[in-house]
Symmetry: C2
Subunit: 542 residues, 2 copies
């Protein structure tokens, strides 16, 4: 034993405390008790009030016998109860399971059973789905309704509403920080395009660290006003549920993506930061002029969840937003990499710069490593911008594993790295660029076609608002690209126009053989549901 | 065992990596290889070069047989070798012991023995002291000389100079991140006004976390240009040695506090951030007009290490600096609390606002807790701004303990909290304000007199540049305040003037009985050496 490892130098209560995002709220309420913590419609809650409500929630749960290791599910848009759930549930020692509100009743019933949900907090808006799910579920959780005056309709399904439930708790009740930073704090089900979804388990250490990374890279300070355009159920809002509180900024709740409302809230509350999938940027960029407002202060927007077409970044910059682009997955607590802008990019044309910004980039400081590798040998692909490999990650901000699924966990962690399933190249400057999800790649005549590359070309067509490309079975080539296109309001284009445009901009084997017009099906997080398009393309195959 | 604790959800290489500041450098070199990492005089090193040099240093150390748990001491001002030591030594598994270059030879000889220093890297500037220390030391470390062209004089004492030593290493040699984040990374001796200094041991976890806190609160980004006005040996430069690299900013080295040079470097390199004890602020504020430059861009300055008199904050603001005030100790890796500005302070007068800013404030998010307590019962004092207690801290950013000193460690950690020895009050808004070091309080006629309060009054006198107040033994009152005052250049004031001014601004029992004029003795970190003044006051007692 060396001199630095003597027994008196070991950890104890004075020099070791489990990392947990709960500490952010306690501290914010101590430093800025009277500061606006959370705004919802005309209501404003200070940090002292937010802490009190979270302590009430923890107490109410404990008094119902819910504690250590129990699951509490929440089905709600970005309302105060959802934010409070991120603290109050952990304060009770329980695990928050924020549900994707676009899921069907059958899947939600599966989750209630799989997660062993003891209590459900649910918003009236989703009562039809939840009612059906509860009827299907073998285990019936206690049901608490969120009775939000900002939503009309739906019905209450439970014994009491959320405010009444809070009233059953006492904010003076004792609660404890987790004993171990490896303790689970949340459970997020992947959208699972096939089969049952997988339950991704987060721990306090990872939540703390990813939130701190969010603060560092999004420049959050106590002056930040964060608008909740990203669903909080999505990787716990990319951990901004915790990060905004860590910075002692203000959360502005938002029930739905409504461009007119978003512009109005940015103006009214002086919003400085917001996040969203590329589709949200697209909706803002293409909002009618009557909905748009001139930004009178700097507004930063983080996008991710899908590679943002460079035209979307350009459109947002024209509106005055500063756009940053991150990459991550549910399994990585959201943001794991960022496309860090290099100083010399400022001299590039907008098109060149936004093309670089659309890359996924490099790891943040809270990530231990990101590589592009042969998924079997785990050897790095050459950094030549051409060789395709799989992105693998290693980090304290990678999940504990999949709940009750050791086989999927072992597969995901094969070789000591988390396998993302995203296919990418590494450029000479080290930046990683996704070429496709493993399952989205199109193999035409033996050649790999990146659906993203074809989509990028389609987005450059002046009439195209949104585009998605999937494989269509083809007797001769095996697969061919099939394009689904939504046009801008008032714009017109024929399939021939689109194909001709692609021919002028892509290698011929990458040009879509078919072009289908219409709105694109999307998940609640704005991801285009390619599996639905794939089925449609198959049914349309010649 | 609950569902969240099943064996497949435990830590493994994919989802757990020891926290370490070494990761910051590796990442900075990957993301910004060509960015200026470190500037020294006319030399500029990119992040790729800095990483290569640190890898060389690690390799050179390993090839000399220095590794896991060995101590490497460094005696140098803020030069490249000192910054590189913060990475290269840890990369070899060894522990950095950055020496206070104002220490005497005897104390340094003691440290060599106590720390079991295997190798010493030393700058020519300090060769007289080091030569003497080496002669006194029972153990002789290998000596490597820093032969900095920016310093003339001194002599080389060792076998080879630092650049030649680096050349013995190979940057391609393997090195490893620490296996355990609890592993020691640095050793900082307290200045120890009496007896031998104590060796404060830091670990990788704490260094990572405090650096991340520095980034969050000082607003460091990749555009930050950090000027090294704070000694790197002082709590590893309050962990900015690691934080600036975490942000991928630029370190600007500085051998000595020279106001003209500081203003010139701020202008030349576009310095955005710097730190220093209040004395450094004072030197800048009172620099001759010929040395001062107009700041043409925002510059943030963090001060701490001693409570900054409010007049000093006001003077710096007049020069255009934004001043933030933090509190910490060697045992807390430097910054542990910050005086967070509240929104409503903006409406206050400069005097009112700077008086509030001079408080020590509240804990940062990387601290688990800060309290003001009765040191025995550990009960909180009332938050009334009057009741005095001791500041105690609990954090991952509290030291492992004191090297080879279990008794002092146990005493410091009594009751599971780190006892700072600082006496403070808690105000109604939660902010902590230091009233004195436990040993600096003056007890006059049974009343406690805060030396800081008397100093604060003295600093308001228009002729006073610096002031320090200590206890003078008194037959009647037990102790009386004795003031030591340095006047501004060209200013005049008599002892009677000063006493009359204090009478107009303080309770009479707090007014100094004696006023001594002259320069004040200081430590290398700018702390006034009160123990010397105390001896002087004693010798002057009537």
């Amino acid at each position: 034993m060396g001199i630095y490892d003597e027994p008196h130098l070991q950890r104890g209560p004075a020099n070791h405390a489990p990392l947990t995002p709960l500490s952010f709220l306690v501290r914010a309420a101590a430093v800025y008790p009277d500061k606006p913590a959370m705004i919802h419609g005309e209501r404003l809650f200070t940090y002292a009030e937010l802490l009190e409500r979270c302590r009430r929630l923890a107490s109410a749960l404990r008094r119902r016998g819910i504690g250590q290791g129990d699951t509490v599910s929440v089905m709600a848009p970005n309302v105060p109860a959802m934010l409070e759930a991120h603290y109050g549930i952990s304060m009770a020692g329980a695990v928050l399971n924020a549900l994707n509100y676009r899921l069907d009743a059958k899947t939600i019933a599966f989750i209630f059973g799989h997660a062993e949900t003891k209590l459900l907090i649910t918003d009236r808006e989703f009562s039809p789905t939840i009612k059906e799910a509860l009827a299907l579920a073998a285990r019936k959780p206690i049901v608490v309704d969120i009775d939000d005056p900002l939503f009309e309709g739906g019905e209450k399904l439970g014994e009491l509403d959320y405010e009444a439930f809070l009233a059953t708790g006492d904010p003076a009740d004792e609660w404890a920080m987790p004993d171990d930073e490896w303790q689970a704090c949340s459970l997020n089900y992947t959208s699972g395009t096939t089969g049952n979804p997988k339950g991704v388990v987060y721990h306090h250490r990872g939540a703390f660290l990813n939130a701190v990374g969010d603060v560092m890279y999004f420049g959050l300070s106590s002056h930040a006003v964060y608008l909740w355009t990203l669903p909080m159920f999505h990787c716990n809002g990319w951990c901004y549920t915790w990060a905004v509180t860590a910075a002692c900024g203000t959360h502005v709740c938002l029930r739905r993506i409504d461009p007119a409302l978003i512009f109005a809230l940015i103006e009214r509350h002086g919003v400085t930061h917001l996040c969203g999938a590329p589709i949200v940027l697209n909706l803002l960029a293409h909002a009618p002029d009557s909905a748009k407002r001139r930004l009178d202060h700097p507004v930063k927007m983080m996008t991710g969840g899908a590679a943002p077409p460079s035209t979307i970044i350009a459109n947002m910059e024209r509106l005055g937003f500063t756009v940053a682009h991150g990459y991550g997955l549910t399994e990585s607590y959201g943001p794991a990499m960022l496309c860090f802008e290099q100083d010399d990019w400022a001299a590039l044309s907008l098109a060149e710069r936004t093309a670089l910004m659309a890359r996924q980039g490099m790891e943040v400081a809270t990530l231990a490593g990101a590589r592009v590798v042969d998924p079997v040998s785990l050897r790095d692909v050459p950094a030549d911008g051409a060789a395709i490999g799989e992105i693998v990650l290693r980090a304290n901000t990678v999940m504990k594993g999949y709940l009750k699924n050791s086989a999927a966990t072992e597969e995901a962690f094969a070789g000591g790295w988390f396998h993302t399933g995203d296919l990418a190249v590494r450029h000479a400057n080290g930046y990683i660029e996704i070429k496709d999800r493993a399952k989205d790649i199109i193999i035409s005549g033996g050649e790999n076609v990146s659906s993203l590359e074809v989509e990028e070309a389609l987005y450059k067509h002046p009439a195209v608002m949104e585009a998605a490309v999937v494989a269509q079975p083809d007797d001769k080539w095996g697969e061919c690209p099939c394009a689904f296109v939504a046009l801008k309001p008032g714009a017109t284009a024929t399939a021939d126009d689109i194909v001709a445009f692609c021919r002028a901009n892509l290698a011929h084997f990458k040009v879509p053989r078919a072009v289908v017009f219409g709105a694109l099906p999307k998940t609640s997080t704005g991801k285009i549901q390619k599996y639905l398009l794939r089925e449609q393309a198959k049914s349309l195959a010649p």
